[in-house]
Symmetry: C2
Subunit: 233 residues, 2 copies
Amino acid sequence: MCQDGRMVARTRRAQRRTEALSRERITEAAVELLDASGEGGLTFRALSQRLATGPGAIYWHVANKGELLEAATDAVVAAALAEPAQAAGSPRDEIRGVALGLFNAIAEHPWLATQVSLQLSHGPTKPVPLRIFEGIGRHVGALGVPEDSWFTVASALMHYILGSAAQNASNARVAGSAVDRAEFLDAMSSAWEELDPDDYPFTRAVARQAREHDDREQFLTGIDLILAGIRAR
Amino acid sequence: MCQDGRMVARTRRAQRRTEALSRERITEAAVELLDASGEGGLTFRALSQRLATGPGAIYWHVANKGELLEAATDAVVAAALAEPAQAAGSPRDEIRGVALGLFNAIAEHPWLATQVSLQLSHGPTKPVPLRIFEGIGRHVGALGVPEDSWFTVASALMHYILGSAAQNASNARVAGSAVDRAEFLDAMSSAWEELDPDDYPFTRAVARQAREHDDREQFLTGIDLILAGIRAR
DNA sequence: AACCGGTATGGAATATTGTTCCAATGTTGG
DNA sequence: CCAACATTGGAACAATATTCCATACCGGTT
């Protein structure tokens, strides 16, 4: 029976940190960690270390890891949507602005895409989906859409935007530089071309287009497609 | 020095299972577990127990948990897309068929939405995105779209469908019955109505529409919107 | 029949996480 | 100055994915 269990001796007490901990400082550090080390890089231990404290101190400000991710995602998304605040262009441009803001944010923070998708699937009252929905919705009125279609139209736009965002994450993750990106597209296109012709005729057929497409451009084209559909009502 | 370490005695060897393990049996069990206990219910422990074996045996057939999730997702998606195989309707109906197949699959397996989004963000060569892309793309030719737009159009449709899918997960998760669903929508709508009027004017304005909307209908309307946009070219 | 290499199994051990607990400290107001 | 309270940080805990390895089964070859 060698169980000593806790060997007691609640020891030390390094002098306290000078700058107080706060939810803001914590989420800030979390974002930095995510940017630097990717999705799996955010652990309470690494975070503790970076903030020169222990896990317990963090839990005083944040309920759990989910809330931490939520806060980090919200911070980045909020910043991305705030930026332009452009003095009113056409509603089309405004919507494209929101979409591009998100697109760029994901390009800089590849972990964002996964997170946003997750938040979205966690319910429509979470801050992140709300922000995006509102950011888009604000301009659909000006688009000339009849009021009883607002909800449907804004939802459609948001779903498209977030769906695209999720996909383009994979590009962003891999393709830091332009060269990497070319390689990535090449690998993807080649993979598509080697699919079974019976099972994947279409995908094979467009493999070449895929190799040469530009993410951003295609993304915006999609939005125009939806806007055109709205107009065609 | 009480370290005994491994107390040895590699003991027992219960007689082997009768029906052999296989990747199929494993993913099948994984799907059952996910359906029964939700996303967090799938652990190697639980899986081992259900299959009456140890974790090691599972790892012989599956590289890691990610691959397991991937396989489970792929199995369900494949089944969902195979079902109809309807004797050719209009291309519009075909595309709606693919979309609805996914929609229904998610309704039955709430964990699917998150998984599909994840796969999507893991790259365009993963089986699940491929299946969906192909399922949709096959019909865009018949839609009268010029060939050099195939990739863009199919991508737009897919992104919309998967974006919607992710969102509707939250509904599916909560709203098992019709009553639950009504409650859920009510809670959401109320939450929206209590938002800050300055920050969320639009969302507040459509809260009532949101309370009464029908997921499936709205989903299909969105698709029609995109199809209309395509036609308007 | 006895052996043998590769395939498969399953249970114990390990490493790494999220999370809880609590003694110790600062801080604030009486 | 002292007592309540807010905050800290480090150790302990529980749960997990994953690795390791001794074993068993199975096909063919001598």
